[in-house]
Subunit: 281 residues, 2 copies
DNA sequence: TATGGATTGGAATTATTATTTCATATTGCT
DNA sequence: AGCAATATGAAATAATAATTCCAATCCATA
C-alpha cells in the first residue's frame, strides 16, 4: 500500500470528496452512496450494499481498493468506528466535551469549550421557556406595524439576524443602529402601534438601556430578552425572557438567544399569515 | 419459539436483567458481557466476542437461543439496530418537529425546532472539525496585521460577533461593511500581511464572493467558513471549513458557525499572547 | 472508425463465520 | 455416593460473505 489509507471517517470523507470527479462512473456511484448512507456501509454485507447502491459487489471492492484499503472489510471498519464514536449519548458527550475543554490546553479544547457552552445553553433554555410569555410576546409583536430591533455590542449579532429574518418574512422592521448617530431620531418615530424586541445582557450596554427607556416612555411595548429579573431592561418590558447563556473564555454563547429570537420571529410571521387568511375568509 | 422475542434493545436488556439469576454460569457470563459491551456485540464476530467474554462461541449461541432468538445473528441485529437508532435520533427528532410545525402544531413546536436544529448542528460539527485545518487557520490569522471579516446577509451576524470578540481581545480588525458604499476602498487597503475570515453559505451572496475574489487576488490569505466543497468561496481560500448547519422553517441555525468562529477568534488571541510572551523572554 | 486501455458485470473461488454435534464435565437430587 | 439432567468445550460442518478472475463492454484517442 503505497498511498496513505484514511483511518478515520473524516479523513476518508475528505479523500472521497477530493477524488470524486476523477472516479469512474460506477465507483463514483458507490462513493456517493457511501457518503449518503454511512450506516448501511457499517452494517451491510458487500452484496447487500452493492445491491442497494445498484452496482456489483466487485465494484464495491474496487472502490475500497482505490482508496488504498486492501478490501471492503477494512473500509467497513472505518464506517463502524464512526458509529462507535458517535454512539455515546448526548449528556455523556457534553460531559466529555466539558472535561476535555477544561483539562486540555490545546486549541481543540477551545473549540470544544465553545461547543459545550452552546449545548449547555440550549439544553437549559429548552427546559425553562415560559410558554405563556412566549405566546404573549408573539401576540404583541404580530400586531405591531413596525418591529424595532434594539441591541448593542455582544447582543448585536442576534439583532441583525432578527432583522434579516423579519425582512425575509416581509415584516416591516427597523434595526436601531446608525453610523450617523441618528438613533434618537429613529426612535422618535416609534409609536404605540409599533413594538420593540430589545436584547441586552449584563453588563448592560448603557445605550441600549437608555434607548429602551425612551422608547417605552413613548408607549411602545417592549419584548425583552435578557439574563435576569434584575436586568434594567426587564422594568421597561411588557414581556421579558430570561436566558442563561453559558460562557467560555469570557465570551457568551449566543445559541439559546438565537434560537429564541428565531422562534419568535418565525412564530410572528406565522401568526400574521394566519390572521391575514382569516380576514380574507 | 413459544416465548416472545425481544426485538428492541430496551426490552432485551430488561429480559436479560430479569433472568440473570436463573441463567447457567457461562451464559450469565456472556449476558453480563453483552450488557457491558453492547458495541462489541454489534460489530464483533461470534468467535471474537466469545473470546473477549471468555466463553466458547457455542455458548454465545445458546445464550441467544435462551432469549428466544434462533441464533447469534438475530440477536446481533438488535444490538445493531440500537446503534442505528441512537445515531439517527437527532435527525429524526428534527424531522418530526418540522412536520409538526408544518401542520401548525403551535408555537412551542417552532421553538423546539430551532433548539433542535441548533443542537443537531453543534453535534455535527463537533464530530467533523478537521484539526489540521483548524491549526492552519489559527496560525494564518495569528500573524496577520489586520484581520478583515467578510460576510453578508444571513452570515453577517457571525461576522459582527467575530468583530466584537476581536475588538475585545485587542486584535486589529475591520468588518467589511459600509453604509456609504465604500467596501471596494476598504478592501483595497488589505495587503498580503493581513488576513481575511470570510463566511458565506448557499445561496452565496454575490457581493461576498466578489469581494473574496478581489481580496484574494491582492494576495491576502483567506480563511473561509462555508457549507460545501463546491462553495465558490472554497476556491479563494487558503483554509476552509465545511459547516453543515441544520435549518428550520427556512432559517439556518448559526450555532455551529458561531462556535467555530468564536473558537478561531479566541485561539488566535491566545496564540498571539503566547508569541508575545516568547518574544519578551 | 479502428484500437488499446480502462471499466464493468457476473460467476467461480476462497475465506470467514455461524451453527451443529457429540463427547465430557458439572450440578442437583434422592 | 450414584444417577440423571443439564451445561460446557472443542471440533466438524454448513452457511454466508468477501474476493478474484475473466469475458464483455465502454471510452478516449489516433
Amino acid at each position: 500500500m503505497d498511498e496513505r489509507v484514511p483511518r478515520d471517517f473524516e479523513t476518508l470523507r475528505t479523500t472521497i470528496l477530493e477524488r470524486r470527479h476523477s472516479l469512474p462512473k460506477r465507483i463514483a456511484q458507490i462513493a456517493a452512496y457511501a457518503l449518503d448512507n454511512p450506516d448501511d456501509i457499517a452494517f451491510g454485507t458487500a452484496a447487500s450494499i452493492a445491491a442497494s447502491a445498484g452496482v456489483q459487489p466487485s465494484t464495491l471492492i474496487r472502490f475500497a481498493q482505490q482508496l488504498g484499503f486492501d478490501g471492503f472489510t477494512s473500509l467497513q471498519l472505518v464506517f463502524r468506528e464512526r458509529l462507535r464514536e458517535r454512539n455515546s449519548s448526548y449528556d455523556e458527550r457534553l460531559a466529555a466535551l466539558r472535561a476535555k475543554a477544561e483539562e486540555g490546553a490545546g486549541h481543540r479544547a477551545i473549540f470544544d469549550g465553545f461547543v459545550a457552552a452552546a449545548s449547555t445553553s440550549l439544553n437549559d433554555i429548552s427546559g425553562r421557556l415560559n410558554e405563556d410569555h412566549f405566546e404573549d410576546a408573539i401576540a404583541l409583536l404580530a400586531k405591531a406595524e413596525t418591529i424595532y430591533v434594539l441591541a448593542k455590542r455582544r447582543s448585536y449579532p442576534v439583532a441583525s439576524y432578527i432583522a434579516y429574518a423579519l425582512g425575509k418574512l416581509k415584516i416591516r422592521n427597523q434595526l436601531i443602529e446608525s453610523a450617523a448617530g441618528l438613533n434618537a431620531e429613529m426612535i422618535s418615530f416609534a409609536s404605540p402601534r409599533d413594538a420593540v424586541i430589545a436584547i441586552s445582557f449584563s453588563p448592560y450596554a448603557p445605550a441600549a438601556i437608555e434607548e429602551a427607556r425612551v422608547i417605552s416612555e413613548q408607549g411602545v411595548p417592549i419584548v425583552a430578552i435578557t439574563d435576569s429579573s434584575f436586568s434594567p431592561l426587564a422594568q421597561f418590558a411588557k414581556v421579558w425572557f430570561e436566558v442563561a447563556e453559558a460562557d467560555f473564555a469570557g465570551f457568551r454563547s449566543l445559541s439559546a438567544t438565537m434560537a429564541l429570537a428565531m422562534a419568535l420571529t418565525v412564530a410572528v410571521g406565522e401568526k400574521r399569515r394566519d390572521a391575514g387568511r382569516k380576514r380574507k375568509a
